[in-house]
Every structure is written in structure tokens, then in C-alpha cells.
């Protein structure tokens, strides 16, 4: 047996914008074990629910993470609405769907950029982030925010949109779809990208389910599960099929996210076409009493929002199980037997979101 050595990885690391620490056990260049240690961004946000009004907690919920912020606000509100039996107006449902899909577009473009950066492909990183700015401009126009939007509230949404905004959105989506093509080609056809991604970190379907993988990780391994099919917001009225690939390697995870981008463009177009007129929120009276487990599909995968209320304006418990929490065990499995040089790339292919994980 070769001599084992331990290499610390992180928390401050050029490839990762977020702090996570791993102790990598190496035999020569091969990783034989990885122990994660987290807690660098643990704040204790779930605890704040005991001292904040449940309506004001939305602002905390979406600050769990600045990338998935819209989804967190929406998931929390949907859970509260189910506890209180509030039916939100159809226009609010469609607006939430549009913004959720726009969040997916910006999150996936962000991930593609980071992947390119990890590969050392600097111009591709710049191109992905250039495209991402376009969708952020529309977000800015529609909600007034670039990363934190604060448009959700129990009972609906806080901001309405007009025809100009929707036309701008559709124009941007068309533009993005056109400009994404050469970028997608670079990811999928470029020899240098392919040689790093093909066959790296293969996760089989049984293994993925057993280790609790969610989102693109799960679907790239051939399991057909997308929480959007559960029927929240306006998704039941829209036509879509989960994207499923079977290879289960890093290349499949990259291709899957590129195809989900196209799917999101399509969903945005459908939702804008069907957007009904009417009010954007209903008044929510009284305090919640009861509990509910809400699941929604975030860009990184399924997230669970648990709300437990006691009839006062302060909730007893709010629990958020984020996609990355579920994706860390499969990631550790992938790290076993990989080369040290591929560690950063493998960590990146799960699209880790550490501030979500630690809250």
C-alpha cells in the first residue's frame, strides 16, 4: 500500500467562491477518502423564525441564499399558504412560475461559467456570465433587484408586471436562446472540455437514489424525478417533460443543465402567453396553525420547506433541507478514487451552494 497523506482543501480556494473545507486522504495522486467539514457560513437562520413575524420571515428565508433567493421565498410562502388554506390568484401563480424559471436560467448560466473557470477556460466563463447579465437586467426591470428580489408574500406576490416588461422578457429570452448556441457548442463539442468531463464521476441510478441525490445530479443518472411535477404554482397548466440523461458522468450533468436552460426558455414563453389578468395577491388574515412539508424544484434540485405553526404569529419551527445537503453524500462517493486534479471539478459538478446548506 502506498503511503497516505492528507491534503486540506479550502475553505479559501481559488475555484470555489464559497468556503467549504475537505480533508482529502491521498494515496499518491488518488483520493481514497474525503471528510467534509462545514460551518463556515452557518448563521442559524432557522432559529430566527421564533422571533420574527411569519410574514416578515419571507425576507430572511430568501436571504438563506443569494442565488436561490426567489425559490426560497416562494417555497416558504407556498408552505405557509398550504397550512392556512389560502388559494393565491392565478396571476400570482404565473408570475411566480416566470420568476422561478428566470432564476433557473441565471443559476444554470452561473454554474456553466464556474465550470468553465474550473477548467481554466477563461473566455467561456466570461461568455456565460455575459449572457447571465441579460436575464439579471430583466429581473432588475421586473422586480427592482438583481439577486435579492423580495417579491413573494404569503397570499401572492408584491409586484405586478406590465406589457413592456413582458415584451422585454420575451425579447431577452429569444436573444439568449440564439446567443447560447455557440456557448453550448463550446461546452458540448470542444475537445478540451470533453476530455475533462467525459467519464468523470459516474453515478449510477440505484446509487443516486440510495445516496439521496436530487435535481440535475439525479436526472443525469437516469432517474426521472422533477419536483415541478408535484403541482405547485402554475406548473400543472404548463407543458413540460423532465430532462433525463443516462450516462451519469460530469459531461451528462453539464449537458443536462444546458438542456434545462432551453426548457426554461420554453416554460417562460408558455407562461407569458397564458398569463391571466386579475389581482396579484389575496389578503391573508389570522395566524397559521398546523404543519406542512413542501417540496419545490430549485435550480440545484429538490428543496424541502417544513413549517410548523401554533396559531400565533411566531412559528414553532421552520426547516429547510436544501439540495446541496442531499448532494454532498453522493459527491463524497464520487471523490473516492478520483485524481487530486479533478477534485475541484467534481465538487463543482454538484453545483454546491454552501450558504444554502448551512443556513
Amino acid at each position: 500500500m502506498a503511503k497516505q497523506s492528507i491534503v486540506p482543501f479550502g475553505p479559501q480556494h481559488p475555484v470555489l467562491p464559497e468556503p467549504v473545507h475537505l480533508d482529502l486522504v491521498l494515496e499518491d495522486e488518488v483520493v481514497v477518502g474525503a471528510v467534509p467539514s462545514i460551518g463556515f457560513v452557518h448563521r442559524g437562520l432557522e432559529k430566527l423564525v421564533e422571533t420574527k413575524d411569519f410574514k416578515n420571515y419571507v425576507y430572511i428565508a430568501e436571504r438563506v441564499c443569494g442565488i436561490c433567493s426567489f425559490g426560497h421565498g416562494m417555497g416558504y410562502c407556498e408552505a405557509i399558504e398550504r397550512v392556512m388554506n389560502v388559494e393565491i390568484p392565478p396571476r400570482a401563480k404565473y408570475l411566480r412560475t416566470i420568476w422561478m424559471e428566470m432564476s433557473r436560467v441565471h443559476s444554470h448560466l452561473l454554474w456553466l461559467g464556474l465550470l468553465a473557470d474550473a477548467l481554466g477556460f477563461e473566455s467561456l466563463f466570461m461568455q456565460s456570465w455575459r449572457l447571465r447579465e441579460k436575464i439579471l437586467d430583466v429581473f432588475d426591470l421586473m422586480t427592482g433587484g438583481r439577486v435579492i428580489f423580495s417579491v413573494n408574500t404569503p397570499g401572492g406576490v408584491l409586484k405586478d408586471v406590465d406589457g413592456d416588461m413582458l415584451r422585454q422578457l420575451l425579447r431577452t429570452v429569444d436573444e439568449l436562446q440564439k446567443e447560447l448556441r455557440p456557448v453550448a457548442d463550446s461546452f458540448l463539442r470542444e475537445y478540451t472540455v470533453g476530455s475533462r468531463l467525459h467519464g468523470l464521476g459516474v453515478l449510477g441510478p440505484e446509487q443516486a437514489v440510495e445516496l439521496g441525490a436530487v435535481g440535475p445530479m439525479l436526472r443525469a443518472s437516469g432517474v426521472r424525478y422533477d419536483a415541478r411535477q408535484l403541482g405547485y404554482a402554475a406548473y400543472p397548466e404548463l407543458d413540460f417533460e423532465p430532462v433525463v440523461l443516462t450516462e451519469g458522468d460530469s459531461y451528462a450533468r453539464c449537458e443536462l443543465r444546458l438542456r434545462e436552460l432551453t426548457q426554461s426558455f420554453d416554460l417562460i414563453r408558455q407562461a407569458v402567453g397564458k398569463l391571466p389578468e386579475g389581482p396579484i395577491a389575496v389578503p391573508v388574515k389570522g395566524n397559521p396553525d398546523g404543519e406542512y412539508f413542501m417540496r419545490i424544484e430549485q435550480p440545484r434540485g429538490e428543496a424541502v420547506y417544513y413549517v410548523r405553526a401554533n396559531g400565533t404569529k411566531f412559528l414553532d419551527r421552520f426547516r429547510l433541507r436544501t439540495p446541496t445537503t442531499s448532494n454532498i453524500p453522493p459527491m463524497l462517493e464520487l471523490l473516492h478514487g478520483c485524481q487530486l486534479a479533478d477534485v475541484a471539478l467534481l465538487i463543482l459538478t454538484i453545483d454546491p451552494c454552501i450558504s444554502c446548506t448551512e443556513r
Partner: protein, 115 residues
């Protein structure tokens, strides 16, 4: 058809055998969470197959030991460590036990008391 989303209250002596049954039915562990009751903890273990989800609900006394499910579901280790550290639930035999050093916070078991 609406996907199933139900909570099943369960006793301690049935708990592990039910988890093994779920494992054999190829269910995916969705999440583990604790909430505080007066002098007790309420633990919820969610499992899913396709779109349906079942939640096992276990109510235990404050100092009572709870068996870990990491023998069946190794991926539970992060969430079990978190529950043990933040709430002070006595979870026993966790594979990869961090011994309350997962988040390394200054305050001990912050979720145990209100406020």
C-alpha cells in the same frame, strides 16, 4: 392524482424495521428534522418514491437515545449530526459522528430553548 404527502406516527420499537422496509422498497431519504415539544422532541424522517412522500414521526423524551439510521442510509450522516448538535437529541451510533463538531458553534444546542 395528487401525490401522497402524509405523516405516519410511529413507535420506537417499530421504527428501525420500518426504515429497513423503506430501504428495501428503494425509497430515497428526503430529509430529517427535529422540532421541540415541552420536555420532548419530535423527529420527522421523510422518505420518497417518485412523487410520493411518507414522513415517519417519532416522539421521544428529551434524554432518550435515538438509534441512527446511517446503517441503512449512510447519506443521513450530515442531517443526523446537525440534529444532534443543534437540538441535543441523543442520536446513537452515527456512522461519521462529528461529536457536536459539525458546525462548531459557540453556543451549545441553540434550538433546545425558545428564543
Amino acid at each position: 392524482m395528487e401525490p401522497i404527502n402524509e405523516i405516519i406516527p410511529i413507535e420506537m420499537d417499530q421504527f428501525l424495521s420500518t426504515v429497513i422496509q423503506f430501504k428495501m422498497d428503494k425509497m430515497r431519504l428526503v430529509q430529517i428534522c427535529a422540532s421541540r415539544l415541552p420536555g420532548q422532541y419530535e423527529l420527522s424522517y421523510c422518505f420518497a418514491r417518485d412523487l410520493d412522500m411518507w414522513t415517519l414521526r417519532l416522539t421521544v423524551d428529551e434524554n432518550a437515545p435515538v438509534p441512527s439510521i446511517t446503517q441503512m442510509y449512510p447519506c443521513a450522516f450530515l442531517q443526523e449530526n446537525e440534529t444532534a448538535e443543534l437540538f441535543g437529541v441523543k442520536i446513537e451510533n452515527i456512522v461519521n459522528d462529528y461529536q457536536n463538531r459539525l458546525y462548531r458553534i459557540d453556543r451549545e444546542t441553540p434550538f433546545k430553548e425558545k428564543g
